[in-house]
């Protein structure tokens, strides 16, 4: 082999996108083997996945566009929580707190739905703005603690998740007419429902939130790649000391990145509250979008478009769960695949070691030939 031209293996290993695809395929492969090992038919898993993405029920030969709508509905919070994780990751922070920031956004949006004046469009727009603001503050606190007191953001965000959960449960009870698990129905002006999208997807819950999500993806890309703020954040992520020496305010970068990161997760909470449900919920537990968001960001390589695609992938797994469960596939196989994907991504540096060894071996062969 000509040592100057990189071979196929080398080119694949140095491409982030190719690695992400490989890792996801590996995850599915292990999931399939696991299902075979416990004597379930893996074909049912794939049928469920195909039905979710295309609307085709292969077993019955029927088509229903509702499944596609529900797939996108499930993907929206995952894309946004992935963006949340990715935004912090680019600044060198590990935001496990998307879950808590999501809850804060959701709770504030639920309150706003009942408290704000019922003016069309203004009502839900203001509810979302308030929810994002609160979530940004919730995330920003952690960034501030990290910058000021060097408190580990990993432990701090996890603690904030539980505080948010119990705080949300407590606060939501104050909405008049709330029982132990739900509030009364939202006023119509607070809802994100979109008659055109519903008609298109056979009355799925698909809503205006999809457009907000697309806007968020563009916003992420623009801020991160095209502005001075984004450059400061990325520089902080690469090397804090170098960033400080070149005049970047690292404390500000850390706080700001966690705040914007929180705003993304908060938007996810607002869209789930006002779009997917017609009423507010007294949360019984974590919705786990924030944790899956970690896997989404890792597969998407913390880039805007990659995270968007990864969110669609994990949304597909999530909305296929009920279909799997009804076909004797334990739905937890989707969690296993997500977990495996993250584990495989963490093993990726191993490829670098292998490539180094290959390069050395090639160099040795080259020098032998010269002699």
């Amino acid at each position: 082999m000509d040592p100057k031209r990189p071979g196929l293996v080398d080119r694949l290993a140095s491409s982030n996108a190719a690695m992400s695809i490989l890792v996801v395929l590996l995850g599915f492969l292990v999931g399939t083997v696991l299902l075979l090992a416990v004597a379930r038919d893996p074909a049912n898993m794939y049928r469920a996945v195909i039905q979710v993405v295309s609307g085709w029920d292969l077993a019955r030969g029927t088509w229903n566009s509702r499944y596609i709508g529900e797939w996108l509905v499930a993907s929206v919070p995952l894309i946004l929580c992935g963006l949340s994780m990715a935004f912090a990751a680019r600044a060198g922070l590990f935001n496990i707190g998307a879950e808590g920031q999501y809850i804060v956004g959701l709770t504030v949006a639920q309150f706003s739905a009942f408290c704000l004046p019922r003016v069309p469009i203004f009502h839900w727009a203001a509810a979302i703005a308030l929810g994002m603001l609160a979530a940004a503050a919730w995330g920003g606190i952690v960034g501030f603690l990290k910058a000021k007191y060097s408190v580990s953001e990993v432990v701090a965000t996890i603690m904030m998740n539980y505080v948010a959960l119990y705080g949300s449960r407590y606060a939501t009870q104050f909405i008049p007419g709330t029982n132990t698990y739900k509030t009364p129905n939202f006023p119509a002006t607070a809802r994100l429902s979109n008659a055109w999208l519903e008609g298109l997807t056979n009355n799925s819950r698909l809503n205006t939130g999809v457009f907000l999500t697309l806007a968020a993806v563009l916003f992420f890309w623009f801020i991160m790649e095209k502005t001075r703020t984004g450059f400061a954040l990325r520089a902080t992520g690469f090397n804090k000391d170098a960033a400080r020496c070149s005049g970047i305010n690292v404390q500000r970068s850390l706080t700001l990145s966690m705040a914007i990161s929180g705003a993304f997760a908060g938007l996810a909470g607002c869209i789930v509250a006002l779009g997917s449900f017609g009423y507010g919920r007294v949360l019984a537990g974590l919705d786990n979008y924030g944790f899956t968001g970690i896997a989404v960001a890792l597969v998407g390589n913390s880039a805007a478009f990659g995270t968007f695609l990864a969110g669609l992938l994990f949304g597909m797994l999530q909305s296929a769960q009920p279909l799997m469960q009804s076909r004797q596939i334990p739905k937890e196989v989707t969690y296993i695949i997500s977990g495996l994907v993250v584990v495989f991504i963490s093993l990726r540096p191993g490829l670098g070691l292998i490539l180094d060894a290959r390069a050395k071996a090639a160099a040795r062969r080259g020098s032998l030939r010269d002699e």
Binding site: Y149, M159, Q173, T292, L298, P330, E332, V343, S346, L347
Partner: protein
């Protein structure tokens, strides 16, 4: 006052698993590897102990609990090898592989529950661990014994000195002839075993079955106890007892009429708020092992 003394056994019951897991986290971090997977390892341990106890208690009677704990320890140790391989052999980001194990824990355990027990939790076992004199569970004695043993190992044995040196300055340790990677492997293996054991202790004393999200942050609290306890056994023990007390109190509080004016959520959130507050109040980077969280690369300076 009798009320407050009555709380001691339940404080010990809550604190023991946190302490055991925190000791594991401490060993691992002192060797230079952050083990954020403790939460997931506790999940694996709890599931293993509960499932083994359900399946074995018919045949083995009283011995089944101890065998279940041993199995939980073993499973925790084996799973932690994934983390060890990624973070030590491959120099990977230690937080990512730990998070992977945490995600995997919820999926794998409930998946196996569905396969073995046909619903989303294990069957309930008939007998958990029996409390000893004074209502104190044996897990408290296990935790105490481990505490003494680990203190002795870390501070009174050559291997402890070597392990600590790997976390402070791995290059210097390697120059002194210590196999840094091997010691770190053992440290992560030990923390996995302790994490699994902690999960087993939790499920056998506090509930009657394993179900999703049962660990509910106990592993993360243990992780916080390590840094709040400044990476030394004395401090970690104090932190674990404080967090255990906060958890026990949040459950006990319904029995105190004077405190009913506060909502129950207030007390449920308390352990987490206390953890957060202590992290801010006692934040001090100077106490952390200097090389904790950094991969050791041979030949790098």
């Amino acid at each position: 006052m009798s009320n407050v003394f009555g709380l001691v056994p339940s404080i010990l019951m809550m604190a023991s698993p946190i302490l055991i897991a925190a000791l594991g986290g401490m060993i691992s971090e002192r060797s230079g590897v952050v083990n954020i997977a403790l939460e997931g390892l506790m999940g694996f341990g709890a599931f293993t102990a509960a499932a083994a106890n359900v399946l074995l208690e018919g045949q083995l009677g009283g011995w089944s609990i101890w065998l279940s704990l041993a199995l939980a320890t073993l499973v925790g140790a084996l799973i932690s090898l994934i983390h060890a391989f990624a973070s030590i052999s491959l120099n990977a980001d230690q937080v990512i592989s730990g998070t992977g194990i945490n995600l995997l824990a919820n999926g794998v355990t409930v998946f196996l529950c569905q396969v073995i027990f046909h619903h989303e939790r294990t069957d309930a076992f008939r007998r958990g661990m029996a409390a000893g004199p004074g209502g104190i569970y044996p897990t408290a004695y296990i935790a105490l014994a481990l505490l003494v043993a680990i203190w002795h190992l870390l501070y009174r044995r050559p291997v402890g000195l070597r392990l600590r040196s790997c976390g402070e300055n791995p290059q210097a340790a390697a120059a002194a002839g210590i196999d840094v990677r091997r010691l770190r492997y053992w440290a992560v293996f030990a923390s996995g075993a302790l994490g699994g054991l902690a999960g087993g202790c939790l499920v056998l004393t506090q509930t009657i079955e394993y179900k999703e999200n049962m660990i509910n942050g106990a592993g993360f609290i243990a992780l916080a106890a390590v840094s709040f306890g400044r990476w030394i056994p004395k401090g970690v023990t104090g932190a674990a007892c404080l967090f255990g007390a906060a958890v026990a109190f949040s459950i006990y509080v319904v029995n105190i009429p004077a405190l009913r004016i506060f909502p129950p959520e207030f007390f449920s959130a308390m352990p987490y708020v206390i953890t957060l507050a202590t992290l801010v109040l006692f934040s001090g980077k100077d106490y952390a092992p200097r090389a904790s969280g950094q991969p050791y690369e041979k030949g790098a300076s």
